[in-house]
């Protein structure tokens, strides 16, 4: 129940649930290229403690749902790329990593905390936002992904 309220609350923060996700290009990744796929967009940094928990989980969903059309894109916000590399050696990622050292994408998305993740549907619309990462809620995160993949 609390989770539902929280999700609703976060959804309310977005002007409309059918808001198109702002397009962006980071290195060789263009968000609009993923139209037709479900995108799990994650903002993370090496110093963010819950991110250590979210990486194994993002690997898991990548392996599980990539074939069904899920793309996990994790945007790193470290000012120093070396720190991100160090983190990735410890917590290897099997999904896409992009770098936003100036935080310009993060401020465009107005992320409320670290980490923050968004689910973008096949039409390129922002549908869900999650502030923080809570392993005990990962089942419901997964349900949301499954629901979007089925659309």
């Amino acid at each position: 129940m609390r989770l539902l309220l929280l999700t609703l609350l976060l959804l309310v923060h977005l002007p409309s649930s059918a808001l198109p996700a702002p397009d962006f290009r980071l290195q060789d990744i263009q968000l609009s290229d993923y139209k037709g796929k479900v995108v799990y967009l994650d903002f993370w940094a090496s110093w963010c403690k819950p991110c250590r928990k979210s990486f194994p989980w993002m690997n898991e969903i990548t392996n599980k749902y990539a074939s069904e059309g899920l793309v996990v894109l994790a945007v790193n916000l470290d000012t120093d790329a070396k720190l991100a590399q160090k983190f990735l050696r410890k917590y290897p990622a099997q999904f896409n990593i992009a770098y936003d050292p100036q935080g310009s994408l993060a401020s465009q998305y107005k992320i409320p905390g670290m980490p923050t993740s968004y689910l973008i549907n096949k039409q390129g619309e922002l549908v869900v936002a999650h502030k923080g990462f809570h392993l005990d809620k990962s089942a419901s995160y997964e349900q949301e992904i499954v629901a979007l993949l089925k659309q």
């Binding site: 110093w47 470290d78 000012t79 993060a106 905390g113």
Partner: protein, 74 residues
């Protein structure tokens, strides 16, 4: 009188700090603040030990957190 002055100064300082909405950082700019050594109580064990020494050697205690009761050394 002294007490009144302190209360006024405190309230002013609190309002000043709370009112400065332009102070602070964005959530992704906490890389340095997130370090363990930047926690206000990062020296917790040392400070606890020091507080015990100074509590029993000087007339003032507390301020950082609760002064509390404690040993019968002062």
């Amino acid at each position: 009188m002294k007490r009144k002055t302190i209360v006024i100064i405190t309230i002013m300082a609190v309002m000043q700090l709370a009112g400065c909405a332009n102070l602070g950082v964005q959530p992704w700019e906490r890389d340095l603040l997130a370090k363990d050594e930047m926690a206000l109580d990062s020296e917790g064990v040392d400070i606890g030990l020091d507080d015990h020494i100074y509590f029993s050697k000087e007339a003032t205690s507390g301020g950082r957190s609760f002064a509390g009761g404690g040993c019968g050394c002062n």
